[in-house]
Symmetry: C2
Subunit: 340 residues, 2 copies
Amino acid sequence: MTANRRFLLTRRPHGTPVREDFSFVEQAVPHAPEGGFVVRNCYASLDPAQRGWMDDAPSYMPPIPLGDAVRASTIGVIAESRSPDFQVGDWVMGLNALEDYSVGVTGGFTNKVDISQVDSPSRFLSAMGAVGLTAYFGLTEVAKPKPGETLLVSGAAGAVGSAVGQIGKILGARVIGIAGGPGKCRRLIEDYGFDEAIDYKGKSVEQLAAEIRAVAPGGVHVLFENVGGDVMDAALLNLAKYARIVLCGLISEYNSPEKIGVRNLWQVLAQQATLYGYLIMDYAPRFAEGGAVMAGWMAQGRLRIDEDVQEGLENTYDVFMRLFTGANTGKLVLKIADGL
Amino acid sequence: MTANRRFLLTRRPHGTPVREDFSFVEQAVPHAPEGGFVVRNCYASLDPAQRGWMDDAPSYMPPIPLGDAVRASTIGVIAESRSPDFQVGDWVMGLNALEDYSVGVTGGFTNKVDISQVDSPSRFLSAMGAVGLTAYFGLTEVAKPKPGETLLVSGAAGAVGSAVGQIGKILGARVIGIAGGPGKCRRLIEDYGFDEAIDYKGKSVEQLAAEIRAVAPGGVHVLFENVGGDVMDAALLNLAKYARIVLCGLISEYNSPEKIGVRNLWQVLAQQATLYGYLIMDYAPRFAEGGAVMAGWMAQGRLRIDEDVQEGLENTYDVFMRLFTGANTGKLVLKIADGL
């Protein structure tokens, strides 16, 4: 390749990102700096979190600079190296960007991975990457559902949610999922083994709260929250005493200039619940450990992690928007190249 | 006395309670049931929480039944007893109601207290009661501020808030209080020893957030939240990483039919904060222990718990409303009688 195609953020989106917020350019392929390397990106992770990184608001990472390529976790191959730790041809995972080639440095986010363990390198962006391990550590280290407890998952058909529900079942919880539309709800039961599925579409907070109550009359012991807004408000009306809430995402508001947050916050107090703001980053040193457990469950047929692999860096905008239209099921991955 | 004057809830308030939501009646003095007793209420605690108990909404206690006297913590004297555990003349504290005489039973919420320890029985409703101990256990058992950490308290001039700030100072934290108006802010500094005081009145969320940032550039490690709404939204924009939030009250919305909750919930996730829904009830078995520590600090002149003692059961409505107009400073107590 002689060009580095890059998907740039050129304007901060106001609400739902539009095509004009980005530009797709060809630039020169970068060279490895002293002590660094160049990664040929092969698969990129597309996640709701990226929408947050586009805003100029206080968050856990600096905003993506205007004019820079959109930040993304990728898996790829070392194409050029001036670091003794990385050899050309090594497969690596790292926090890079939506572009053909990214520059990395030793001691950064980039780590080598052994793709002989998996049927597709994309697995390191789904089951054994941040998404699968968000579910794994969020349950095993934060919420810790006990056998027989009721676990409610919002965004349940999403990449994180579907893993949360299945891991919840493995841990012995009774699992209720909330998703949008009958098709997704059917998949929760049939593909992912949830005990109950609730379709939030077209329902008021009160209606949704009543549907949750009907299947969780003893209340929700663990709420794994990916959505926020009305869905979270309905869930909060059904907390059991001392409920644990893992606040993992708020996809309902990523595209809203006006933040709604959560209106039934009182219930957190009334039920003496604990709400944990949860990011996977702190668990990065334990990814190999968690990934091994996930791989074991998958090998046993107890855990199914679907991927929605879409092709072509030139299609990034349309593929990214699948996250917000409800079109995608499973972990959304953009395939950029096969290898070097 | 031949009559039992009672302050009844006769209609559920819509928003701010109006006089017509209540009625003040005289009924017959009750008699002690088998195994029970009658308390002559002398002082009653008036607290924002009572407003919540008037709503017909899911909470940590059942709503006050319409036509019943408004529930309140009181301290009083046993006036009649058919229980071997309580003798006429014993001073007791319990969850009773705004009325001259309440009926209690052995094994209920009523406990004997030793008023010889204190200069006024009302102390058991302030420093050594639920209010003072809400501050004490909320800091020592939930938030656990470390020396040098920044503690932000909203509703800081209130009964709980002023105790929180002072205990935070005793524990070595740097303490910032948010209160309404220059008079209250001056009291935070002069009377309660806060390091900084911020007046929230007339300020937008953004302005308030900027004022907090100016005095807490390293972020807020512990947020003791009594208010909610705009004040909490501004505080959330200043969380330090891994902040602990004690959600103790949401006085800004108790009189709002429309719940706002909190809009900057995202910050809890972004800063990996933990938010604890906190009620004092679980610590009731440790009240004597906590009360002894509080009494010690007061004796040493390190802790000042002000009381706003107002007189007369017939004035209950006007006195209660002092909580919401900003008129009261210190723990609001209604004096009903001197004793038997």
